[in-house]
Symmetry: C2
């Protein structure tokens, strides 16, 4: 962990107050709901309250300081000088409180996130374990679980149960189970809708294993599909393949997005892919870099990104296919094993 | 829902930009990961991106506006004039971006939270359903589930499973199962520690039902306890009773805290109750008002608060007993049915 603090120091022009709790976890291994880390040239101080102080003392390479429950208030009274802060995360009034306490605050953006975007081997190993569990979950989901006649939320529970049985710590997020028209809303939750025969069912789910997450999507069929649905499925699959082939270190997030998007735009489903191609993942489900029409990121070896084009026909159906891949110098490593051929479930 | 927007309007000196997504949900019923609500004197506008726009259009009493995925950037280009913002929630750089876009920003604090702190009858009914499910979960947990010889995380999974079987939408938060020394860390997660005979096991858990949460703690015994453990249990129980008796509309959060804290401070366990007595709950697990030594709140009828004193002996054991109660003009309604007598599990 302390080598991460060392790498962060190299990016700093002044001490940095890290208040994003996932960034604190990344830098120190310390997991709590109330903490901050001040990284200075010669030391790093970890601040937390009574509830977590015993756990904090186990962190190596940092000084531990017990604060009041109102951590920012305590810091405003006890810190001084010129200090950088995580301006994209810290609420406005907390920054104001620190400033009123006499600290000369410097807004900084994405410094720890920049480190987190490039995974080390130990992070990638943990991630591969999350993928292996997600693969097994999907294999069992399509072979053991009944879909037709059950509510989306019942299938979502089976996903939770299968993750537990396969050894995940917990689901990475609440699974999306979007059947028929529900699937046309990319972020609909699993609801009370009963799954019908002849529908497409979007399953977007991931596992949290050792703190790292997977994030897959497969779209399943519940029986015979009409020609348009089959055509749309093939278009999304081709778009995903084009996206996967475009990714390697040095490629811009907009380029990767455009490679997949172009396939959809040239098809009968032009204009129906309304979100970005993908996003980084790791300790969080959404991290840097982004693959989208608005992205300013360039891919680097060690990035971990989703590749998830989709087609959404409002009121009718949606299709999305998503893998998680590791960016390498000359392409990708794709640890996702579960098939992308259209699977029919009962 | 729109009556909530009406009540909010009465508190405003200028239009308010609501960016806290739970506040957006409270005011509109609209649930998403990217939205904002601008409440003006004559209208309310709900902003969201492509992914959620179809759901947003179903909200009554607001105008719906589709924005770019980068919502704050879009708002900075499209809004103007004097606008209040939720300064305790909005990240510093987002406020800066809006200001640079020409908006005259006014920091505002806790306006929607102030409304949310007083529950209406429909909210209380949903909450009582969450309590009934939590009661049934606890009854089954102590009668059906094996503790001794199993890991804390295995018991935590049984809690998740029992909530599902009893009809909860999901657990309100990751259950704490703290056995023996783990229980002395008030916010330890359920881990790999195997539960031993003759230990105290802190179980802190709640259900999410229809968006509203419960939050109970019970401390169970796995066999014969020593005299100090039994004494500590009785002290915590007496402290909780004193806290419950102190609560009614008009009482300060510090007073309620002091009533319970006094019992512990006058006992052999003085100095071991290191957190506040309780907190509001509702759509979130932690809301206004607070019951603590640092609270500036005064209780009002319709508040929903936890009452959860504890004793924590580092390296040895912890005890906490927590109910959720509805504040009334002359006292409380306590919907929690599960026993507070010491229960022994196998």
């Amino acid at each position: 962990m302390s080598s991460r603090i060392e790498r962060l120091r190299e990016l700093l022009e002044e001490p940095l107050l890290v208040t994003n709790l996932v960034n604190v976890l990344y830098l120190t291994g310390f997991d709590s709901s109330n903490a901050a880390l001040l990284v200075e040239p010669a030391r790093a101080r970890l601040f937390t309250d009574f509830r977590y102080i015993e756990s904090a003392r186990a962190v190596e390479g940092v000084e531990t300081v017990q604060t009041k429950r109102s951590l920012i208030g305590w810091l405003s009274e006890n810190l001084s000088g010129r200090i950088g802060f995580e301006a994209d995360v810290l609420p406005w009034s907390f920054a104001e409180q620190l400033r009123e306490g006499g600290i000369e605050l410097v807004p900084r953006h994405g410094l720890v996130e920049q480190l987190r975007a490039v995974k080390d081997e130990s992070e990638l190993d943990t991630f591969r374990r999350a993928c292996a569990i997600t693969d097994r979950m999907f294999e069992r989901l399509v072979s053991e679980v009944k879909f037709v006649g059950r509510r989306e939320r019942d299938v979502a529970w089976d996903i939770t149960r299968l993750y537990h049985e396969e050894g995940a710590d917990e689901p990475a997020f609440e699974a999306i189970v979007g059947s028929g028209p529900t699937g046309a809303r990319p972020h609909a939750r699993a609801g009370d809708k009963v799954i019908e025969p002849g529908e497409l069912v979007v399953i977007d789910t991931g596992a949290n294993v050792g703190g790292y997450v997977s994030d897959y999507t497969r779209t399943l069929a519940t029986g015979e599909l009409d020609g348009e649905m089959r055509e749309a499925y093939d278009v999304v699959l081709a778009a995903q393949q084009a996206g996967l082939e475009a990714i390697r270190a040095g490629v811009a997030g907009v380029e990767a997005d455009a490679a997949a998007r172009g396939v959809i735009e040239e098809s009968d489903f032009a204009g129906t892919f309304g979100h970005g191609l993908g996003h980084g993942l790791g300790l969080d489900v959404h991290e840097s870099p982004r693959l989208s029409t608005e992205s300013a990121d360039t891919l680097a070896a060690g990035n971990l990104v989703t590749v998830e084009p989709g087609v959404y026909l409002e009121g009718r159906f949606g299709i999305r296919i998503e893998d998680d891949v590791i960016v390498t110098e000359d392409g990708i490593e794709n640890p996702v094993r579960f098939t992308k051929e259209l699977v029919t479930v009962g």
